[in-house]
Assembly symmetry: D2
Homo-oligomer: 352 residues x 4
């Protein structure tokens, strides 16, 4: 940690600061420049609060040097985390293929979709049961009654299922019916929910908040990890920017950033990241080539009759056309991923 | 609602759309331009979902004409809402003055602060008991034990108290100890929490989410209002932008926007909107002149020893200096507010 | 164009507006809803200014239905524009490969780079001669003296060259030395420069402004096109967002958006869009798969000794490693592009 | 400057870096932490380029400690800069009042406006002659012919005039006709234009770019200052954010930020910062109370007939109503400014 002092700080304040630091059991080195004086602090950063130090009289600013995340860091866990969900690997060589409707609307609907998508190579079935909606007057999800529909349709067609959990008290309710808990973008910093999910043994797919920085994203993963659950899947679903022609802006840079500094898998949600069916194929394929460990796409047999998110759900035919393009790049994608995996293995053995 | 059709839409799709609309009991007017055909839809918008219509084959885009909020709208409630909390009016002529520490840290601390601030003219005492923190390794608030400390200190010095509620199960826990429930920016779209608060009879201060649009902000208020609680106080606390020199960007435009289209009071939180003690006085006074119905400021006797948000909390002396400047503009501010209130009264009587 | 009227507009104002519209030779259709009245306007939109109409007494807002761009639109020019620069096709099946140093620093430097990159398969050599820099105290480019160095090095190794033009008076100066004029992000809305470039016969690579909307980006292209120069190459180089871990945020969504609505080629500049050498390979390959017609990458033999943009320039070895990964996806990429081109051809013949 | 090294940097690279720094005549202090090693660099920062250092093998990141601006800094010039334009002071106690049409449209129009506004207390007359417009099909300004109209109307009513300069070759053309050159947001980083204006002796009003950081804003001022012209007026005119209900977001925080770290005057342009006539009064008054040294407001007798920016121009009556509210806060505003000025004088004498 670097502490930059104000030019005109007096000796008294300096001494008070030195004393404050000494009590926290850290070593310091002082560097006196022409215009500024700085203090380098060495030792356990968890003994010090950046914010409190910034408020010290005479301190201009405090610059952290170390990353705030620990368990989510590749330094802590050098190889890729691979999560097995009912035989499907997430974070492994083969990118994971998740798809399904925005909302489960009826038993018939989810069975129709499960049948179609399982034939198209989808491995994990998504389906919203409890839906966070901007308006209290919109459809809020089918609710509890839909949980067995989703589970049974998935089981029949050999697909583990994923669904969003919005509240702590839904965890028990959903536990026997879902294979992956999804945390939505609006709940990325619902810390008590993250802690509660950290105490379960199911994989958690954590969506990035609409305005979350990189540090905040990984620190939310850290809430789950530090509570004992190491099965965290990150998901980039677009951020909010000034851009007006898409629902959100897909931050493709974050994908290789995560792969560089973290061991956790990251997948892409192009449905929310674009909000437009005409962009889903190109940006999904691009994200996979950029390193995404899979995708989650919204599909609905009749989007115009959907109870939520109609504008961004693909029809069965559109999804089939996406899968056709996916097949075109699949071999290259696997070769690229194999090369990358081999590099990680090599780095790990070199550092031993 | 305006439906813009694709240029090459065929008659079959057009008829399917017409039929779909007819079933929803709305009237339509078709306008055929040179390049585009549009359909104007008249009737109960709640019968129609914009998203579903957008997904209709042959539809290019759907443009809503009416605002999505109802109960939060000034059309629904033309005069200003004034909320009385233990004798303090929020939304009335006199702007409300709220202050206190980011976190309640000990019984002594909150009593020391309550004593000082009550003498400085603060009307409502804030104090965090449960704290949402980006890092699982940071102080998470003193918890339940601090609730009676806060209530008793407030009561002794004649100040109602406000504190953040993060979870549904904290509502009952906090009910007897706080006079206003605060919903933090991270929970602005925690819809189940909003619904639960909508069923209580206490005022709710709803902070704007860090990336919330105007519509989303008011629709979150609508969740509380439509559940039966009409005591909603909005709070602008800064939005996330590319700007790097302040913690957030205070969106001062939103203040008169809210006053124009809604009857709800809106106050400003300059501590989070700037993150810098040196900017708090000017932007708070500016926000009040721009129409804010009050402020909430973080104050701590020794910010550098605070357990959270040290860098943005004012000392007692800094707060006193702020109040001095506040006194300088107070008369002008009241005159301006009187004029504005009179205009609203006039508009209301004219429209009768 | 749709004109939404205020609820309480009186007949007098309505008549004034009707008269105003009649004079502009457009037809109107009025639609009266429960809460609002709207007017649909049919006819030549260039007779009407959205902004002026918005200011009409009694008008609430004006919603344009047609896109503002004409010559840049795929409706105007259904097949892809392919630009030939000294034998290199831009916008054709094969993605174009541009690379070179941020700044030309010496004759030796640019010859060393040209030799290396030509062997690595680079087709077009970039090199900054006049440099826009945030600080007046930074290196402002080698200037005029470097123009023949760049041209000669390119010519010797069979590579057309591209360099940034910042001022109208540099056009003549640079004309004989460059094959493509680059317009930097900061000049995307330097309209007089765009007009002047529109009157030349050389290809123009137009970089997207750091905060440019889609409409603004294409309208800047329209300035060049409408002045007679149809050789415009668009370039996505990242936008400014709240994101802090990369210099800019690569808006990958814009790539297929451009390909859908415009006939112009679009290439990607990952050096500026990330600002980090460790992200360049994955996001460039991802952008190509998402539809980019090529890339422009900064390369320098010794980035730490570079006079500008050191942190984002690849070394020769790093570029070689990038090209290795490029080779891995090349066949898939070409297959994908062939399929896409065939679809466009089919659409065109169907619409004849 | 702080250089953070990668954990695994070897001695050879360390030595290369030490040698590199020695040659640049700076002193260094090395601090070895548990996980990282850092080097503090002391000396003339202009000998070192942050970007080049970042590219050094083994360097993780480089953190500048000193601000990049010099002449714009309050350290360099502790008292406020006050600019006198034909008897009107900008940056002095009394906030400056500028107003006028977006575009000069005819001789009659500008005389009509000048007459009205001079009677309403406006001190400086604005009027666009050359207009930057997003679309090549929009009105591009009346051009050269309007220059004497503007000058004569201003002179007759005792108001210096301000108009936007877009190109270097317009400087001579405009020189005899305007009292202040305005640099538009789109040209804030047109560095050659800034340099040329730095060589004139007229005041320059520099508008903040739509996505300009604080550092970039002041560095653009630095381009003018370092070329010899110390009469720079900054102007906040809103930034581009995700916010959708106003044309831009007025960054009110930047006003006191500028006053704290710079001696230059800063004024507010609420017309562009909101784009809505109903918000102009509250946000202008708020900005003045927050420290703005004046305002520039667009006024037009018949906005709906304006050739540009109709939706954001006030009518004469609306401006009169604004001035009424301005009068209500004027005394408080002057008292607040007097207090602030006295504090600056005191700080200066204390530091002598």
């Amino acid at each position: 940690m670097i502490i930059v002092l104000k030019k005109d700080i007096d000796e008294e304040k300096c001494n008070a600061l030195r004393e404050f630091l000494e009590k926290r059991d850290v070593k310091t080195v002082e560097v006196v420049g022409v215009d500024k004086k700085i203090i380098g602090v060495i030792g356990n950063k968890h003994n010090l609060d950046k914010d409190a130090l910034s408020a010290f009289p005479g301190v201009e600013r405090v610059i952290p040097i170390l990353e705030p995340y620990k368990l989510a860091s590749r330094k802590f866990h050098p190889t890729n985390t691979i999560i097995n969900v009912g035989g499907v690997e997430i974070g492994g060589l083969d990118p994971v293929r998740m798809a399904g409707p925005c909302s489960v609307e009826s038993e018939e609907q989810i069975w129709e979709i499960a049948e179609n998508l399982s034939q198209q190579g989808v491995q994990i079935l998504r389906g919203g049961i409890f839906k966070p909606r901007s308006s209290p007057y919109s459809f809020q999800g089918i609710g509890e009654i839909g949980l067995p529909w989703l589970r049974d349709a998935g089981k029949h067609y050999g697909m583990p299922v994923i669904s969003e959990v919005m509240q702590i008290n839904q965890i028990d309710l959903m536990y026997d019916f879902v294979d992956i808990f999804q945390v939505g973008a609006r709940n990325m910093q619902n810390f008590r929910l993250l802690e509660a999910l950290g105490k379960t043994d199911k994989p958690i797919m954590l969506k990035r908040g609409i305005a979350a920085t990189f540090g905040e994203f990984l620190m939310s993963a850290e809430y789950i990890l530090s509570n004992g659950n190491d099965k965290v899947i990150l998901c980039e679903r677009g951020i909010r920017t000034f851009v007006e022609y898409t629902r959100n802006t897909l931050d493709v840079n974050v994908i290789p950033m995560v792969k560089n500094v973290s061991h956790l898998p990251i997948i892409v949600d192009p449905s929310h990241a674009t909000g437009r069916t005409d962009l889903i194929t190109p940006v999904t394929l691009g994200s996979l080539i950029a390193g995404a460990d899979g995708f989650i796409i919204e599909v609905h047999p009749r989007p115009y009759a959907a109870l939520s998110d109609g504008a961004q759900q693909l029809t069965f035919d559109q999804f089939a056309s996406f899968m056709e393009d996916y097949e075109l790049i699949k071999d290259s994608l696997l070769n690229l991923r194999k090369k990358k995996f081999a590099e990680i293995t090599e780095n790990v053995s070199n550092s031993l």
